[in-house]
């Protein structure tokens, strides 16, 4: 496929940036974003493309002489369905199954698509996960029942608060304070035995365990900036949760 067929250089850069943007916003690994962008560019006639990806910014250039283009990423969520779809589009493009115009159309659709699961299913999932984690951490079934409620409410409040206050740190702090308070009240009311077990199960949907692991993995792969910034994000989240729970427990006990 030559350049005349696949649009101007500008359009190709734009297409690659869009793909990279969707992947990065929805939680793909750093190396996968870089890899996908350069592969797409190669398929469209720019084998020497370079990309530099960090959690907050994508830089992309098609050749040594071309000016690099920059894209800022402001919000990040985890939506692996979109990552899988972009991956699929890039594979089709590399195998010449679709043209760049078709790829752009499909990418725009993926970008606009709503989350795969409605909020209530996610909250139910968080509740079930929290209850199960209480048992995984060797809590009793009687502790899992209150954890079911507490983790559901905790996750719902973090989702709602994040819309309200825009600052993730405060949303997480308030939600975990709520989790601590509710767990304490449940145990006081005689439902559940160990406050600690209920709390640890309930905060699992909020804690950044995955971010920590991804940060270490990025560091190992040589993506030093990505690794450090993911580590900082994970630290802040863990700090917010620890502070929220610590605050409540120091008041009530």
């Amino acid at each position: 496929m030559n350049n005349a067929e696949s649009g101007t250089t500008y359009e190709i850069i734009d297409l690659c940036l869009l793909a990279g943007k969707i992947m990065l916003q929805n939680g793909a690994e750093t190396y996968r974003v870089e890899d996908t962008m350069t592969r797409m560019a190669a398929a469209l006639g720019f084998p020497g493309a370079h990309s530099y990806v960090t959690p907050t910014v994508i830089m992309f250039t098609t050749s040594r002489t071309e000016q690099p283009k920059l894209f800022r990423i402001e919000e990040r969520t985890t939506d692996l369905q979109k990552v899988a779809e972009v991956n699929d589009i890039s594979r089709c493009l590399s195998q010449r199954q679709i043209t760049s115009a078709q790829a752009r159309e499909r990418l725009a659709l993926v970008d606009d698509a709503a989350h795969a699961y409605p909020a209530w299913i996610q909250i139910m999932a968080a509740a079930l996960a929290g209850g199960c984690f209480t048992i995984i951490f060797k809590g009793s079934v009687w502790d899992a029942l209150p954890a079911l409620f507490v983790s559901g409410l905790g996750y719902a409040s973090v989702v709602y608060l994040q819309r309200l206050v825009q600052i993730k740190f405060f949303a997480e702090l308030t939600a975990s304070a709520l989790i601590g308070l509710l767990s304490f009240l449940f145990v006081q009311a005689g439902i559940g035995a160990e406050t600690d077990k209920i709390i640890i199960g309930s905060v699992m949907p909020l804690v950044p365990g995955l971010l920590i692991t991804n940060a270490v993995r990025d560091l190992m792969a040589g993506h030093l900036i990505s690794g450090l910034s993911k580590g900082a994000e994970a630290f802040l989240t863990a700090f917010a949760i620890g502070t929220g729970i610590g605050l409540v427990l120091s008041f009530v006990s």
């Binding site: 939506d79 692996l80 199960c132 365990g209 993995r217 620890g242 729970i245 427990l249």
Partner: protein, 140 residues
């Protein structure tokens, strides 16, 4: 033990809903999570938890590679669900809470343990990726 396996299966699958993985992969995510936790539970009494986590992650990684190959979907979708029970989220929270409560000795201990565990998970994932590449190269 059975209860642990069932709960780890549900927890992994539910986390995959939180991460918006495609609906048809939920079962596989749960299975990889359950297998990882099974390996961890079997190894943990005999070795240190870092070693157990490492081997459990390798198993999760290999299973995810197989699933990813057969479904033509990025590995991350299956490995994310698989490592959820192993990830030291609880420890990270515990460390932070102890820092807030001025219990620095135990806080540092938990923080270092969490870091080592996530290092073990990352190493396990990278190793399984390398194994997958070697397998593919030997086949072609």
């Amino acid at each position: 033990m059975i209860l642990q396996l069932i709960t780890s299966f549900i927890a992994s699958a539910m986390f995959c809903i939180l991460f918006n993985t495609p609906r048809r992969t939920l079962l596989q995510c749960g299975i990889s999570g359950m297998l990882g936790w099974l390996v961890y539970l079997l190894l943990d009494p005999h070795w240190k938890s870092v070693v157990a986590t490492f081997f459990a992650t390798v198993v999760v990684g290999v299973v995810s590679q197989i699933f990813a190959r057969s479904f033509k979907i990025p590995v991350i979708i299956f490995s994310v669900g698989g490592i959820i029970p192993l990830v030291p989220g609880g420890l990270a929270y515990d460390a932070m809470r102890r820092f807030v409560e001025d219990d620095y000795t135990n806080a540092l201990q938990a923080a270092v343990q969490a870091l080592l565990l996530s290092g073990a998970i990352a190493t396990g994932l990278v190793l399984s990726e390398v194994l997958g590449q070697m397998f593919r190269r030997s086949k072609s």
